[in-house]
């Protein structure tokens, strides 16, 4: 097991380095920040001085090491637009993204898995067909279109829930959270549901196909033949075995949720990191874009590592393979 973890750790390290290289060279080399920061009144001399100040006169590899060196000390550069350290900007907005992503995840798993198991067991029933129809429509509908419909129905026609902003926040552990107040929760509802719909549909489909595949395995027939009660079969034999694909996908989807929150946050004006990324892309605020992408890359590498280890933990076959 330790050998396996070390091997995965080694892979993750390489992955992180390769991705940081791609992001850095992709964004820091294409386009010229001097042209972007300077205006018409800049002389050639001013531009050269600006380039020296930004460290752009140095060779590329040196720029990369300077950047990653600063990054390791928590210095991700300064935003052109806000004129503040990038890391502060991102850290300020991270809780907002985390809270809707987590809420969406809870809703998605809590509804999707039971629905999936149900429609897997009662494959040919009418209820199962209706559920499957709705989930097909659900995952065929782009996220942003669902958001528009949600806003139209719940915010404009029914006027039950607010359609934008984060509402009141309360402080916990020195961080501002929206879920601590009713007003904040109301503001969270639509964005979280928007993110959750896709999750519900995905989990339903996964759990359904997993259930069907396991239902006809020999050990299930054997368990039935032994006269084990239905509930126990579902708990001990079915749930455990469908958990493996679900854990993998869920792990990867935590990252997916945070990535998709760019869309949801933009539509609902939710002040998280996804909205920050899109605003920064539009305003060509390069330090923020680079820092966001590198941070999210590191996060993905970490999530992949955790998922691999959990996978091995749940399924002994994996940790013993060469």
């Amino acid at each position: 097991m330790i050998k396996y973890i070390l091997k995965r750790l080694w892979h993750s390290g390489i992955l992180a380095i390769v991705m940081s290289l791609i992001v850095f060279f992709g964004l820091y080399v294409v386009g010229d920040p001097v042209e972007m920061l300077s205006d018409d009144e800049f002389t050639e001399q001013d531009k050269i001085e600006l380039a020296i100040e930004l460290g752009l006169d140095k060779p590329l590899y040196e720029q990369y090491f300077t950047y990653t060196g600063g990054m390791l000390q928590g210095d991700f550069g300064t935003s052109f637009v806000y004129n503040r350290p990038v890391l502060d900007l991102i850290m300020e907005r991270l809780p907002a993204t985390l809270e809707i992503s987590l809420l969406a995840m809870i809703i998605g798993l809590g509804i999707g898995i039971p629905l999936g198991i149900f429609s897997g067991i009662k494959n040919n029933s009418r209820a199962s067909k209706i559920i499957s129809f709705f989930t097909t429509v659900g995952y065929s509908t782009p996220n942003f279109w669902q958001a528009i419909i949600l806003i139209m129905v719940f915010a404009v026609f029914l006027q039950w829930l607010p359609a934008s902003g984060r509402g009141l926040t309360n402080s916990m552990f020195g961080i501002e959270w929206a879920w601590l107040s009713l007003n904040g929760l109301q503001h969270m509802a639509l964005p979280a549901i928007n993110l959750a719909i896709y999750k519900i549909c995905m989990q339903q489909r996964l759990a359904k196909s997993g259930t069907q595949e396991i239902l006809y395995q020999e050990y299930m027939t054997f368990a039935r033949a032994k006269g084990i009660t239905r509930n126990r079969i579902i708990r001990r034999h079915l749930l455990r075995n469908i958990l493996i694909p679900i854990v993998t996908i869920t792990g990867l989807e935590v990252g997916g949720l945070i990535a998709f929150s760019t869309v949801t946050e933009t539509i609902f004006s939710w002040p998280g990191i996804g909205k920050l990324l899109l605003d920064s892309i539009h305003m060509i605020d390069r330090p923020v874009v680079v820092a966001y992408l590198i941070l999210i890359t590191l996060m993905f590498v970490f999530i992949n590592f955790v998922v691999d280890v959990m996978y091995a933990f749940l399924d002994p076959r994996i940790r013993h393979q060469k």
Binding site: G26, V30, Y139, P142, I148, Q212, A259, T262, L278
Partner: protein, 301 residues
């Protein structure tokens, strides 16, 4: 696990056995063909050319569905802020959305299949490099990679096609490699090797036709994925340019008017987008189900 190793039967036979007795899938297929026809014929059947600024009249702006336009014709689905007929804009938008998705899916799949075959045949460091690249790609959500690409290279129809191709190739490479590897253990490949047939010929003549089935099964799914992704990126304003609106961009344009009750600008392109993706997904599900022998044997029980 799922056994994909199914030889390709003649296409007509395949189609018949996939769709017979599945009305929803048939409806999806008919819907899809209809959308493709509308997209292909748009320049001839659309009431106006929405890209031609000369025919647009600002006086016709923001008219509800079934209004009379200044030139005496009826606008069935209403007009947007600059007087563009929504029906025409949707037809042209459909054309662009489908075009982008078709190109991205085709090129992405070709690249994926080629790299997958190459990895299987060459082995060694070629295989490691290709498969590590696949791992790298698969561990990131497509939307994020696309945003990354568009942030680096800027926006435009060509750029969004590149960004979508990046999203398509990896899973195809992985699938092709694994089915080619199992194909390579069979005797006819050994026989071919002994007959001193060059590697590239083995790859194209023997491995390709015998290991492409699982990739073909995935293609409808990729197509609908590309359509959704392009719409999302265009909606966010990092996709196609404003002069050539796709369905996603049309929805974004109308989004500003939605709260003031001018629903038709967004709703019609949105309905078309969702129906298109739904039609493809219904067909895709059916094809996948058909090609999954495990599910089939289970349904017979």
């Amino acid at each position: 696990m799922i056994d994909y190793k199914k030889k390709l039967a003649p296409l007509s036979l395949q189609t018949k056995s996939i769709f017979s007795g599945h009305p929803i899938a048939i409806a999806g297929l008919i819907g899809f063909v209809m959308f493709v026809l509308i997209a292909l014929l748009a320049p001839w059947i659309a009431p106006q050319n929405p890209y031609d600024l000369m025919v647009l009249d600002i006086m016709d702006g923001l008219l509800p569905p079934l209004s009379k336009l200044g030139n005496g014709t009826t606008s069935w689905l209403g007009t947007d802020a600059v007087g563009r007929d929504i029906l025409s804009a949707v037809m042209y938008g459909l054309r662009l959305s489908l075009f982008v998705a078709f190109i991205a899916t085709t090129v992405g799949s070709l690249i994926g299949v080629f790299l997958g075959l190459l990895a299987a045949v060459k082995g060694g460091w070629v295989e490691s490099v290709i498969m590590r690249a696949v791992d790298l790609k698969v561990s990131f959500p497509g939307i994020l990679l696309a945003l990354m690409m568009l942030a680096i290279f800027g926006t435009g129809v060509d750029k969004i096609i590149y960004a979508l191709i990046i999203g398509v190739w990896a899973s195809k490479a992985r699938l092709t490699r694994s089915s080619a590897l199992s194909e390579m253990q069979k005797e006819y490949i050994d026989a071919a090797k002994i007959s001193a047939i060059p590697n590239w010929r083995i790859m194209l003549k023997f491995l390709l036709p015998n290991s492409i089935a699982p990739v073909l099964v995935m293609i409808p799914m990729s197509l609908s994925g590309c359509i959704g992704a392009e719409a999302t990126l265009s909606f966010l304003g990092v996709g196609v340019p404003i002069t050539e609106p796709s369905l996603g961009l049309l929805i974004a344009n109308g989004n500003d008017y939605l709260l003031s009750g001018k629903w038709w600008i967004s709703i019609f392109p949105g309905v078309v987008l969702v129906s298109l993706v739904l039609c493809i997904n219904v067909v895709a599900d059916r094809i996948r189900e058909h090609n999954n022998p495990f599910l089939k044997s289970m349904n017979m029980q």
